[in-house]
Symmetry: C3
């Protein structure tokens, strides 16, 4: 494996092999596997789970890592091409990225969506530029429209909690005061589709997932024997659900228009998930969320603290899932 | 040992054993003792000594660590229960803490007092919540009313500079422009009492240490054969002192009232310790302070730079003292 | 070697030996050389290359490091002596520096020029104080008027791209919206002089490098058989150049006067280097810069992206050059 940028770059069988490796490393740790290897971690945006789990995972495999956070101890970084750099950023990715890559054996990069131009964000304009500048193993730590590490951990979680391959997976929009990126919803629907599930996206009007995301997930579903559709009908969506994956995201109808987004989410505060959402679901239906989550805004305390919730297991699974990725990218052949 | 949260959780003999281990690790390093172990360090508040010495100590024992600082590279974290999270914090400790704990073998957490509600701070409301969420070895890196790592290093320092067990230990209030927490004064009086010393707290009117702190120290003193009292009489307090431990803290008479605090400390700028404070003390009386210290505000240059001062030794001792704690928490049984 | 503060502290032969060691460590890594060693890194100012390459280099030699950045997770630090510390900084270097040094086997410190008092900056007032407080191996990570790690990496780069010892080295001022320090220009002219090159400093009126910098470089040149001069004549300076080293720096005629500096750089936006600058240079003349660089402000895109540019190689060479320094400072004798 040379890069880990998108689950869609891998066949279903390859993903299953990665998950098998993750389980093996949990059962039989290999604390020397990556001795002497160095992972660089570049965070253009905040992080808790990714930041902590990659450092911990690298250490558990015997390697080391360093963290760079532009704007905090490091210069702000410009990502636009061709600009006259007379503003705040003192460094351009065209220098910063290859320089960092030259110091390490693998580089992880987080670079969120700008949230202004939907096609630029869905096209991964910024991350593609960054990736073009790296000649080392590269890991997507969340880009404008993808979060493959989260998706891999989520797949592992679904396996562990016994959700069958063909089970009903509902990705439900949840309220949030601001417009959040499409990365996790895009990664989650694709992951569930690639797993072979019946995927339903439940969201209010104005928040439909864009065609590019739906079409990509449908291609994965077609190969795996599943399906993908979206609806605003809460009852229909949740009926018989085996998993509800809650996630906040931006209004897509007028993407990038802050006032329109605020207007679109007005009156949607009842999209704060609680136990009542599970009335028509299967009795053992579980709640997923990638975290961080705003309690009593996106999900109510009583639901997060109930046995339905597997959000902590999802977060924990970041560690073994990413250790498998690091192992594949960095373990010298024997 | 499962947790290191408060020296009061340990008998005097257990503390002496920890100090013996600290000395042993100084003389006979064990650079492989914690090979493969990962320490997570969560700093809700600034740090220099704790931040550096825990990373250095873990490395010297062969382990690794990662640092998380909410608000700088990581989401701000909410610690109140039951709130509707529509403000700045995007993450709640109810998720953040167990997630971090799940990535590491031991977790250290720093969470200062809010400085608003005295009984909440003295009751360690916030840290108790945090501790309840961790199922791994946990270390208190300074909570609202405690700083056991500092206390352990201070005890080691007292031993090294030859202050007898029954010597006179004066904790003296020192001026500071703002209301600082009660954590170090509380930890210092308890430590000195548990060591068996004659403990005198010297402070201006309005800055008396609360009963809860004094009573806890007195219980330790009773077991160890020492005593604890407080006074505003500088001459009486300092007469015959063998150690003066300077520390800044908030006005306690009207705790949490910023205007009252500012009013209380008006006219107290002469509580900047200098050599003249040692007129009635023993000739070899030493000056202690936990650092950081505002020079010429809390303590004068000439005193800090004189042979009386052992503040650098105290700070250095954080390293071996904490290495002993890490060793006890993380070293696999043989 | 006890300290790495200035290339001028070493003879030409000693520098050549360091470069030989750097090459050896590239060819034959020694991943256990510094096992158990801890490097402390104190950054008073932002960094990308230094921050990443020292951590990576230490890890590649089997050691560990920790990073402290005052003002971000750590208290702001006061560097002036004798002040009443009632402002923002809560910690003084007189405590902070020896404390950090006591936790590690070697300490690296970055402390930029204040940019107010030329003689204080050129005299390294601040760094000398810091250095006087450290009793461990110490590394200058960029001080007011020096950047020896950059200079060593640059020398290595010159060797690798085949620039002869006696070649013509032009340090050219480049435009920047703000007054930047003299550290890199000072280090670069000295390095080139010590290497034995024909060194020409090209800069507009008002930006002449101070005598102290020029004289020091001339002393090195005298020993190595080279020469050092400065001029405002672009054509004469660039004629026959084998290397152009672009760098932004403050107006020196009225150093520390912000308005005068802004006035001095008005009308100098054409000091943005492009291919036209190389008209009279040798065909194989290369472009160097220490990075970060503001594209299309200091250097045009087309030049940075052309084969002339070796800026990425310079940045990469920080890693092996610094590994040689760490090795010399920390490797136990055998």
């Amino acid at each position: 494996m040379q890069r880990f940028l998108d689950l869609a770059d891998f066949s279903r069988d390859e993903v299953l092999e990665l998950l098998e490796l993750a389980r093996r490393l949990e059962l039989r740790p290999e604390p020397q596997a990556l001795g002497g290897k160095v992972l660089g971690l570049l965070f253009m945006n905040p992080s808790l789970r990714t930041l902590a789990s990659f450092q911990a995972g690298m250490a558990r495999l015997g390697g080391s890592s360093f963290v760079i956070t532009p704007g905090s101890g490091t210069w702000q970084v410009e990502t636009r091409d061709g600009v006259v750099m007379d503003g705040s950023p003192a460094e351009h990715v065209r220098e910063g990225i290859p320089v960092l890559a030259s110091y390490c054996d693998a580089l992880g990069v987080r670079s969120f969506a700008d949230g202004r131009d939907l096609s630029a964000d869905l096209g991964e304009q910024k991350f593609r530029l960054i990736a073009s500048l790296v000649d080392k193993p590269l890991i997507n730590l969340e880009s404008a429209a993808n979060h493959p590490c989260q998706a891999l951990a989520d797949w592992k979680t679904l396996d562990e909690i016994g959700v069958p391959r063909s089970g009903k997976f509902v990705l439900s929009w949840a309220y949030h005061p601001r417009a959040l990126p499409l990365a996790v919803p895009a990664a989650a629907v694709h992951m569930a589709a690639q797993r072979g599930m019946e995927v339903v996206v439940l969201r209010p009007e104005g928040f439909a997932l864009p065609d590019a995301i739906m079409d990509k997930a449908r291609r994965a579903a077609a190969l795996a024997g599943g399906s993908v559709r979206q609806t605003a009908d809460r009852g229909a969506a949740l009926a018989g659900a085996q998993v509800v994956y809650a996630k906040e995201w931006a209004a897509t109808a007028r993407y990038g228009d802050e006032a329109a987004d605020a207007e679109a989410r007005r009156g949607l505060r009842d999209w704060c998930l609680g136990e009542s959402w599970f009335a028509g679901a299967r009795a053992d239906c579980r709640l997923m969320h990638c975290l961080p989550v705003r309690r009593n805004v996106a999900i109510a305390d009583h639901l997060l603290d109930s046995p339905r919730s597997v959000v902590l297991r999802q977060a924990y699974n970041r560690l073994p899932a990413q250790m498998a990725v690091l192992y594949r990218l960095l373990k010298p052949a024997e």
